[in-house]
Amino acid sequence: MILDVLHAILVAPFKDMVGAPGFLAEVLIGGVASGLMYSLVALGFVLIFKASGVFNFAQGALVLFAALTLVGLMERGVPTIVALGLTAGVMVVLALAIERVVLRPLVNQEHIILFMATIGLNFFLEGFGEMLWGANVKKLDVGIPQGSFKLGEILVNQLELTAALTAAVLVTVLAVFFHGTRIGRALRAVADDHEAALSIGIPLKTIWVIVWAVSGIVALVAGIMWGANSGVQFSLSLIALKALPVLILGGFESVPGAIVGGLIIGVGEKMGEVYWGPLVGGAIENWFAYVLALVFLLFRPQGLFGEKIIERV
């Protein structure tokens, strides 16, 4: 009996994988694709955490709000490119508002207080977005090709391909931004030490507005990808929960960590669900990602690429 169980867990799934390599490739590709979709959302978290130390629970709501605004504008006849620009502008204004109303009064508070404030922000944005644009599901069509094509035996989804490319481009742009520009360096300085950055004259408030605005635009990109997949509706804000394991795995402050974490979680999740899921009745995706991240954490408590936690007595 025990041997059967062991066999089912340790041997059979691998035989399965080897026996159908085309399918395995599909699962891997699917895992990579969905992992990158998670990374897009995780990037927003990372940006804000990196620069202000705030774990922005409202990132999911930002994704939803950005997507709703875009689709709302397009529904009212605004041409796509203009709508994209306008939405980016809206996200900048939102960032300004958030900095003024939420961040500035809470400047020196503990992280948990700021976290709670972002939870309050989450509720606010959910209600606000829905009030402005309605609660119906909306079709998002910014010209992303939707169908799928076959590469040999493997089915490739064009939307996911686009998302993967977008993620790659976004990460490159962000990397250049952080390491190549003056503002990027200022952001890194603020992430390191608020007070030191202030003392050498870096304007904290401006930095925060920039970071939240950039994060808002990343949220817009994530919203476009996810919205194209499932229509723009409330559940988009729940994706943030799926991005959390990516964050733990990659480390809260690392942009490459968000990508690598996303890939590991995406692939791990899909392989787990397809090959081991049927053993226990399926639908294990929800907790599998978290357990996977947890296992990694036990070996590296700060995540794969996170900053090593130095504790002083």
Binding site: S34, A135, L155, K270, E273, G282, E285
Partner: protein, 443 residues
């Protein structure tokens, strides 16, 4: 500082001393029906047309007919966001308003389960039309709960019957592969026991794949589906799971005319994100689709022209699948009250009297024609033992613009479903400590 304290103090005082939900004085000659709806939250796209259907039909009865035999309907919406705790709170808050509720449509299987134990004590009829606890169709155990025109188990059997028709006979199903993709909740799991039973009887290979709520991400599920390469797919979803399922089915190259959703997985919003790729997708239903029935014209004339339409200016939405479903649901409520009035007189009735009306509901073809619903709905008869009624199922298909009927009215396999239903009813009733009534003794 003083102002701040004052504001906080006043707010606290207001919250602690507000009059404890006093009942608004009942106006003469109205009957109150609370509506538990969800116009916000993750299930809003499905909740909005449903809520609008109720509103419009009740308005129609009040505006066109002056109420039911002179007794106007009063209703109040309460937002549940499809959440069980909010649903219970809504029910408790509304059940004493406006003279007391007589009937409630929970519009959520989870909320229905919560309200079922409360119904006999509160004397409020629960109508879970096409959802809820299937076992409550056995009226001998659950006198206060009704789920006509059909239950999930009957629907699943009708689905298999349809497959039989498509494949040239139920015996041809032997060896075929059928996948059931379901929402991982009590609602989603409802069809499983029936499908398993039928798989044993007819020899088809059944695979059950659960999708975790809310179902935004279904890639792993559909990868498995592709590997199985089934002949038919049945989907029991709700909310975003529907849209993603249809999209993924198309994206993974499934033959859309072999993908059939249950009656909550087949409405206009579900096929919107998939666009053209969703053409050919089918779904079960228990009423016809369409916006050109006489009842729709009546609604447009008597409700929308007077500016009371729930959709406001967006008249094109009148006649969507879920909208039709709830105008039928509302119609059934109204006809039940009318039936009860035949026995008890044309005055505002109590919950007990409305319950009798529901149990003795008999909608004939002639009555449907009078209601303007000829062809939309089938005649229905409810009895004391059978709170499911004798409803029939239909299959509709999306052609890119509209839903069209693609099958005949099908009788579910009552010989398979009823015995299981009765056994389940005994179980569920035992948990609640109910005793069985003897239908022959009551009339």
């Amino acid at each position: 500082m003083l102002l701040r304290t004052l504001v906080i103090g006043l707010a606290t005082a207001a919250m602690l001393t507000w009059p404890m939900a006093g009942a608004v004085l009942a106006q003469d000659k109205t009957m109150f029906i609370p509506l538990l709806v969800y116009r916000t939250g993750p299930f809003a796209p499905n909740g909005i047309p449903s809520a609008n259907g109720f509103n419009d039909f009740f308005n129609l009865i009040n505006e066109r007919d002056g109420g039911i035999n002179g007794v106007k309907l009063a209703w109040e919406e309460c937002e549940t966001q499809y959440k069980t705790d909010l649903g219970v709170e809504c029910y408790e808050r509304l059940k004493t308003r406006q003279g007391g509720a007589v009937l409630v449509n929970p519009f959520s299987t989870g909320i229905t389960y919560q309200l079922i134990p409360k119904a006999p004590g509160d004397k409020v009829v629960i109508h879970s039309a096409g959802y809820g606890m299937t076992a409550s169709a056995d009226g001998r155990w659950f006198p206060w709960v009704f789920n006509f025109p059909m239950t999930y188990w009957s629907q699943a059997s009708a689905f298999i019957k349809y497959l039989g028709q498509q494949e040239g006979g139920l015996d041809k199903l032997k060896g075929k592969k059928i996948v059931h993709i379901f929402h991982n909740s009590p609602y989603g799991k409802e069809a499983n026991p029936t499908l398993e039973e039928l798989a044993k009887r007819h020899g088809f290979e059944l695979t059950l794949l659960a999708v975790d709520s809310p179902g935004q991400e279904q890639k792993a599920t559909w990868l498995q589906v592709r590997r199985i390469n089934p002949d038919w797919i049945y989907i029991s979803g709700w909310g975003v799971m529907n849209q993603v399922a249809v999209k993924e089915a198309a994206a993974h190259g499934m033959k859309m005319d072999h993908v059939v959703g249950n009656w909550w997985t087949g409405t206009e919003t579900d096929v919107v994100p998939a666009g053209d790729a969703a053409r050919g997708y089918k779904s079960m239903t228990f009423h016809a689709p369409g916006h050109d029935f006489k009842v729709h014209q009546d609604i447009l004339k008597h409700v929308y022209d007077k500016g009371k339409g729930a959709y406001g200016g967006d008249r094109a939405k009148v006649g969507e699948v879920l909208y039709n479903r709830t105008i039928i649901n509302a119609m059934l409520n109204v006809e039940a009250i009318r039936t009860a009035m035949k026995k008890h007189g044309n005055k505002p009735l109590t919950g007990e009297q409305v319950r009798w009306g529901m149990e003795n509901l008999d909608i004939t073809e002639k009555r449907l024609e009078e209601l303007g619903m000829k062809g939309l709905m089938r005649p229905l008869k409810v009895t004391c033992e059978n709170h499911e009624g004798n409803g029939l199922a239909l299959v509709q298909q999306w052609d890119g613009k509209n839903w069209k009927i693609v099958s005949d009215w099908m009788e579910p396999m009552r010989d398979v479903v009823r015995p299981k239903l009765e056994a389940a009813a005994v179980e569920e009733a035992k948990k609640l400590g109910y005793t069985m009534r003897d239908c022959s003794k009551e009339k």
